[in-house]
Amino acid sequence: MPVPTESYLNEFLYGELVDVVGPENVSASQSDKIAYSCDYYWIPELWLDRGRPLPEPDLVVHPRSAEEVSRVCRIAANHKAPLTTWGGGSGSQGGALPIHGGILLDTKKLNRILEIDKTSLTVTAETGIIMQHLEWALEREGLATMHEPASIGCATLGGFLAHRGTGVLSTKYGKIEDMIMSLEAVLPDATIINTLAVPRHASGPDLNQLFLGSEGTFGVITKATLKVHPLPEVRRFHAFVFPDLHAGLEAGRQIMVRRLRPSVIRLYDEAETRRLIRRVLGIDKEGAYLVFGFDGDEDLVDLEMQKALAICRALPHEDLGSRLGEDWWDHRYDFFFPNHMFHLPQAFGTLDTVATFAKIENVYRAMKRVIEEQFPMARYIGHFSHWYEWGCMLYARFIIDQAPDDAHEAVQLYNRIWDACLRAAIAEGGLLNEHHGIGLKLGRLMRELYGPAFGLLEHIKKAIDPGNIMNPGKMGFETFR
C-alpha cells in the first residue's frame, strides 16, 4: 500500500507499524482517510456536506491484541505522533476524530469474548467488540449485560466505557460505569495495566473510574469485565399522560424515591408528547407522556407494577394502558434510521444533561428559555429517560430546520447555541453532559464546569501522557503542538 504523503517521515511510521501488525492491518488508503474523517458529530457532517476538506488520519492501524496496541503506542510516543483511538465512530461529540492527523487506532479487531463466568455472572471481552455482537453471544447463554443503547449495533464496548455511555434500561441496571468490574488499558508509555479484580474494596482509589469517561486521552482500554444478568422472565410496560411536564416529573420522582426499581422511565415534554402520540396513535393529545417498565420475575414485576400504578393514579392523569409501552420497546431502534432521524440541512444537537430532582425542571426550563428567547430559528424538545435515586437525565434537543448555507455561519451559530444552553444548564445545577461525552464539541466548557478541579484533571493528563499524544485536542485538554 503506497503511503501518499508529502513527508517521507510517514514512511518510517508506516514501516514500523507494518512491522507490528502486518501490512493488511495498516492503511493509508484514500477510502479509509475519508471514512475515518467523519463520526456522528454534526460539524464534520456539515463540513463534508459542503465539500470542505476534513482533517484525516495519516495512517489507520488495526491492532489485534493489547501487546500490539502497546507496541503501536511506543511507536507513536517515539515519533510524537498523535494517536487517536476509534471504536465504532458513532460518538456524537467528535471524540474519535483524528483532528491532528497522525495514527488512528481502530479497535474493532480487538473483538474476542474471553470468558463468560456463569458462576459469578460476569463477561470478559476485548473492547473493540461491537456491543450488539457481545449481547448476541450472551443471549445464546441466556444472559445479557442489559446495556441497551440505541447505538448497540454501531458502537463498541470501549467506546461506551470511554464516554460513560448509557442504555434504555439504565434506570435499573445502571450506566456502563455501574456495570464494570475491572479493565485493562494500555498507557501512552506502552505499559499494559489492569485494574483490581473487583470494583468494591478498600484497597485504594478505584482506577476504573480514571479511565471511564477519559475518551481515549489517557490510554487505550483493551479489555473489560462486566457484570451480566439472566434474561428476565417478563418485561412489562405501562403508559400515562399527565396534564403537564411538572406533574409527569412528580410521578417519576415518586416512583424513584419510593425506591421501586423500574428498568425504564421515559417522560416526554409537551412538544415531544404531541409529536409522538400523533405519530403512534394518530390522535392529538396535550400533556406529558410517561411510560415506565419493570422486568424480572413475574410476581415481583407485578408487585412493583401495582405500586407504580398506584403512585401515578393518585395524581391527575389519563391512563393509556400497556400497548404504547410495548410498541415503543419493539420499535425502539427504528427512530435512529435516517428516515426518522434529523438530518442535514437541519442542524440539531442533543443537550443531554443531568441534575437532582430539586433542580432538573429548572435546567429544562432554562435551556428552553435560551432557545426561545435567543434563537428563534430553533425549536426545543426534551424527554427524561434515565432516572436515579436522586434525580434524572434530561435528553433535550434543539433543531433548526434549515441550517445557514454558509458553513462558517452555520458552525458559529451552532456553537453559540451550545454555549448559551449549557451555560444556562450549569447555572441551574446541570452538567455539560450525561452520556454522550465531551469530545471536541464541548471541551471549551470543561473549565467552566469544573472550576479549579479542572486543574487536577490537567495534572493527571500530563502525568499519564506527558507527550500529549493520546487523542490530543479533546476534553478541553491542551491541544497538540
Partner: protein
C-alpha cells in the same frame, strides 16, 4: 453518472451507522470504509464532484460482496448494493476498472465463463445418454460454477432426473447468464451476453428451466425481464424448488439420508431476494434419519460467503476465505455434520477453508446420496 439514481441511498447511508454490525465485509475487515456508511461517504464525494475515482476508492467499491444484508436490515429502504453496482458501471465507463476486473470481464466475453476455461470443456465431467435433446420438458441450466468447479452437483442432479424419470436436456451452447458482467460494472456487455442466451433458451421451447445457481436464477427472473429479454413461456425454478416439487409429486422413492444431521445456509438471491427459504428445508425434511438444525443467523439474516454472481471469491480470495471461515464457524456451532448449500459458488468458496467437523454439500448432492 449512474450513481445519480442512487442519491437517496448515498445521502442516507453516509451518516448512518445502523447496519454496520450486520455488514458482512465491515464486520470481517473491521474497516469503516467497508461499511455502507463508508461507501456512502465515498460516493457522496463522487456524486458532488468532491473526489474522483482514484485507485483506492475503486478498490473499496470492488470489495463489497453485494450480499444485501445491509439492505435487509435497513428500515429506511436504502439499497447500498445497487448503489455499488451503479458506481462500478461508472468506474468502468471512466476506464478505471482494476486489472483483475478487466481480466474476468475479458474471460467472460471470450469464453462464456468467468474462469477463462475452454467452452468445449463445459460439460466434460457429465456423462449419460442423451444429455442434449432436441425436445424436452425440462431444460437444466447448470451455470459456470457448477459446470467447471462443482460438476458433482450436476452429476447429482442428473442422477435425480433419471431416478424421477424426468424428461430433460442440457443447453449445448450454455454460457454465463451475464450476471457477473452486470455486477462487475459492464451492463452493455451483460446485455449482449444475456440476449444471446435468452434466444437459445427460447428456442428450446422447454416448459421448465431448472438451475442450481441462485445468481443465474436471479438473472433469469429479475435481470432479464428488466432488460426486456423474453425467455418465452418457460417457468424458471431453482433446483431446490424443483426437487421439492418432485418429492411432493411422489416421483422419488422413499429416501433414507446418508448424513445424520445438517444445517442449511441461506443466501443472497435465493433467500434474501426471492424469499425461497422453505423449499430446500422441505427437501431435507423428507430425508429419513436427517436431523435438520438451524443456525442462529438464518433465513434473511444468514451470513454470506460472498455469493452474488460468484465473482467475490475470484476478486477477493483472501477476504472470501475470511467470509467462509465465519460461515463455517456459525454452522459448526449447530453441531451438524453437514452444511447444506443451494449455491455452487458458495460451495466452492467454503471448500477453500478447512473445517474438519463439517462436510459441505449441495442440497441436490444430499438428495442424490439418499437415492
Amino acid at each position: 453518472m449512474l450513481i445519480t439514481d442512487h442519491a437517496a441511498t448515498i445521502e442516507a447511508c453516509r451518516f448512518c451507522f445502523m447496519c454496520r454490525h450486520v455488514c458482512t465485509l465491515g464486520v470481517v475487515s473491521g474497516k469503516e470504509s467497508d461499511t455502507p456508511r463508508g461507501k456512502g461517504l465515498i460516493l457522496f464525494k463522487i456524486l458532488k464532484g468532491h473526489a474522483d475515482y482514484g485507485a483506492d476508492l475503486v478498490d473499496t467499491l470492488y470489495r463489497c460482496c453485494l450480499c444485501g444484508l445491509c439492505e435487509t436490515w435497513c428500515k429506511a429502504g436504502c439499497r447500498p448494493p445497487a448503489a455499488v453496482v451503479a458506481a462500478r458501471a461508472d468506474i468502468v465507463a471512466q476506464g478505471k476498472a482494476p486489472e483483475q476486473v478487466r481480466r474476468i470481464k475479458e474471460q467472460l466475453v471470450q469464453t462464456g465463463n468467468p474462469f477463462g476455461l475452454p467452452p468445449g470443456e463445459r460439460f466434460q465431467a457429465l456423462e449419460g445418454p442423451n444429455l442434449f435433446r432436441e425436445r424436452a420438458e425440462v431444460l437444466y441450466y447448470a451455470g459456470c460454477d457448477t459446470a467447471y468447479r462443482q460438476p458433482r452437483i450436476a452429476q447429482a442432479l442428473l442422477k435425480i432426473f433419471q431416478a424421477a424419470d424426468a424428461d430433460f436436456t442440457l443447453l449445448p451452447g450454455e454460457r454465463s447468464t451475464g450476471k457477473p458482467l452486470l455486477l462487475l460494472g459492464y451492463p452493455a456487455e451483460a446485455r449482449a451476453m444475456s440476449g444471446d442466451l435468452a434466444e437459445q433458451i427460447r428456442a428450446t421451447r422447454c416448459r421448465t428451466l431448472v438451475t442450481g445457481c441462485p445468481s443465474s436464477f436471479d438473472a433469469f427472473t429479475r435481470d432479464y425481464p428488466a432488460m426486456g429479454l423474453d425467455l418465452g413461456r418457460i417457468e424458471v425454478l431453482h433446483t431446490a424448488q424443483y426437487l421439492d416439487r418432485l418429492l411432493a409429486e411422489g416421483r422419488l422413492a422413499p429416501l433414507l439420508s446418508a448424513a445424520t444431521s445438517a444445517t442449511l445456509l441461506d443466501g443472497t438471491y435465493l433467500g434474501r431476494t426471492h424469499g425461497i427459504f422453505d423449499p430446500p428445508r422441505r427437501v431435507l425434511g423428507k430425508l429419513a434419519g436427517l436431523d435438520l438444525r438451524e443456525m442462529v443467523w438464518t433465513r434473511e439474516l444468514a451470513y454470506s460467503a460472498g455469493e452474488p454472481g460468484g465473482v467475490f471469491h475470484l476478486l477477493q480470495p483472501q477476504l472470501s476465505r475470511q467470509l467462509a471461515a465465519r460461515v463455517l464457524d456459525e454452522a459448526a456451532n449447530t453441531g451438524a455434520g453437514v452444511l447444506a448449500t443451494t449455491c455452487p459458488a458458495t460451495k466452492t468458496a467454503l471448500a477453500e477453508v478447512e473445517q474438519a467437523s463439517l462436510e459441505v454439500l449441495d442440497v441436490a448432492e444430499i438428495l442424490a446420496r439418499a437415492l
